[in-house]
């Protein structure tokens, strides 16, 4: 692994944007690129990328997942690092690609070498680039949801909290159950929509009990799910990806609640 000084000047990073960021929330990708560049990396976004293959992998369509895995590995294996603004997709690339090729002597080696380069965005910034703070400001009360794959597969928990603590004006509160699933689970949220809904209702209730202006998370899938529930309930709590907040690209967060909370002098 490179030391921080080397990282600053030389590390080339292939940004795996993820399909949800590409299609639904491109601002997350732009924010991620900005954070990586600020950390001294050279960022490239190969156009030969689409989906990491996780939906197929989890549906049991392992052959389809393998084809996408080969494509992704080919596109990214020449960078020093491969970074994704998602614990779920990074986990797929890092842990499940080698599993997909366990019985293939040639590709197994390639997948393993590739795996070692793969990182989730925020943990890459803190653990590899040694970023300790960011130059961003966001006046609001917020809370952070730990997306399951990032948390349990990659151990992403303290890193986003450390960096968010350096965002000026941001007050970060903890959920009662920050590490419980939001019920997304990719196609699970559609195929078992009623069960998924029961789970996200609990997550929404936990968020609302904190009376925060903003929910922050590291995975667009989970955020879409929670935001979709909050909107359907008519709630105004805003939802942003951690990259947007850290890069100062979260836009305006309505802090109506903050004014209501102000105590009389």
């Amino acid at each position: 692994m490179l030391n921080p000084a080397q990282t600053k000047s030389t590390a080339s990073v292939g940004l795996f944007a993820t399909c949800l960021v590409d299609l639904i929330r491109p601002n997350v990708g732009l924010s991620a690129a900005r954070l990586l560049e600020d950390a001294g990396c050279t960022v490239d976004v190969p156009s030969r990328q689409s989906c990491c293959g996780q939906p197929a992998y989890n549906m049991g369509e392992a052959d389809g997942a393998r084809e996408l895995a080969r494509m992704t590995i080919q596109s990214f294996e020449n960078y020093d690092y491969v970074v994704a603004p998602s614990g779920s997709c990074a986990g797929m690339l890092k842990l499940h690609y080698p599993a997909l090729f366990a019985d293939d002597p040639v590709w197994s080696k390639r997948a393993q070498a590739f795996s070692e380069k793969v990182f989730e965005l925020v943990s890459f910034l803190t653990d590899v680039c040694n970023v300790r703070s960011v130059d961003a400001k966001l006046d609001c009360r917020a809370t952070y949801h730990d997306a399951c794959a990032g948390l349990r597969e990659l151990g992403v928990r303290d890193q986003p909290r450390h960096l968010l603590a350096s965002v000026k004006g941001l007050e970060l509160l903890e959920l009662k159950e920050p590490n419980s699933c939001c019920g997304f689970g990719g196609t699970f949220s559609v195929n078992y929509g009623d069960i998924s809904n029961a789970i996200v209702e609990k997550k929404a209730a936990d968020i609302l009990s904190l009376d925060v202006d903003l929910l922050i998370g590291g995975d667009v899938g989970c955020l879409m799910n929670i935001e979709g529930k909050l909107r359907r309930q008519g709630q105004t709590t805003q939802v942003r990806h951690v990259a947007e907040v850290l890069a100062g690209q979260a836009g305006r967060i309505s802090t109506r609640r903050a004014h209501n909370r102000e105590k009389p002098a």
Binding site: L30, C51, M59, G60, L68, E153, G193
Partner: protein, 476 residues
Amino acid sequence: MKPLSHKFRENAGKALDNPTLQTALKNVPEGFVAKRAKARSKLPEFDALTEQAQQIKSHALAYLDLYLEAYEKQVKASGGHVHWAGSGTDACNIISGICRDAGARLVAKSKSMVTEEIALNAHLEASGFEVIETDLGEYLIQIRGEVPSHIIGPAIHLTKEQIVDDFRRIHVDLPTDRVLDEPESIVNEARLILRDKFLNADVGITGANFLVAETGAAVIVTNEGNADLVQTLPEVHIVVATIEKIVPTTEDATTILRVLARSATGQEISTYTTFTSGPRRESDPDGPRETHVILIDNGRTELLASEFHEVLRCIRCGACMNHCPVYQSVGGHAYGWTYPGPIGAVLTPSHVGIREGYHLPHASSFCGACEEVCPMGIPLPALMRRWRNRAYGEGLTSLRQRLAMKTWLWFAKRPRAYHFATSIFIPVFRMVGRRERLARFLPLPKGWVRHRAFPLPEGSTFQRQWKRRRAGEVQQ
């Protein structure tokens, strides 16, 4: 029992709409989850112990044949009988045979999941015996004609009010004006009824948490002490256990006991932990005259040779279901067979087939909480995914899902076509999606939009914006 796993979706829906069940299910996170976390935090070597426990079980499974033979030898040496049962039906027939030979009328049981798996009660009742469950939870579901909804809290799906109603309905010999509102009065009433059964039972049947090869002992843990009465008072005691319950030594059993209670109920140790072997000796003040051990395979050998073999390390603590967001939402009955939750999602298809059990390994968000808390390190999500692979391979996945996936893959594998298609589709999606009247014509997945607003894309894909940004940089 007759599996109802194919009705998972339907039964899960009913469970979600059942307010009484939802009230009862709140006990799962508030009870089990919080207590386990506390017990774990109080024992610094907990994680190291779980690793040791896993090694013990993996070793025992690798040499299962040798340890089973050693165990049989020890049981015989202590004067007990050993019976080998290939299937659940075989086991049922052996047990009813022993009851018949003993001239039994009343059979008392302590809680045992394997007897649920082989539907022993129904078999014994059909053979003319009266069977009484003596674990309070099991007794409750027996009088309600239900099956357990949890492997260690079989009646976790019931509220106190339901239990009181059932007791008043069933215990008609007791005064109708009795006070029955606090847990203590409920337990006392059960104790009163069951005491009589313990004393009159002719045969006692217990399960086993472990079988110790070194000594021939069967180990059983309870919090009510009912298993001790079941295995000491009647003249005949039968231990019913599946073959993977074997551990080599007493030391091994006690190591695993340290993680079992903590993972299950958050206790340091269960209230009663009993090692029994063989019938009453001359110097013993009590105990059965005759003891039997039924060693059941019922699919275990096949599992051991399969890609699901790791599931045999399971010690039935229930931590996986306690921490499962799906189990917490729908309870255990929706799973439709003996074992609910993540462990059931892996075990059930191996018993009832993947066609019948299709939904169980699919109805998971793969959050990984089960694997995180499993003291035996069973990779439950990975094993569920293997069932999904098989289901897909056998063409059980719905045509709609397969077509959607094939279409997605066709584009995803062709980045040029993918970026071209999405750069057109996404702006159109946004334009239509913004107008409420038009939005309902979008082909959105019903499972999602029934409960959640669909995310409106920002408008232009990331790839497109990135290219534009790069072009701008070059011009500058």
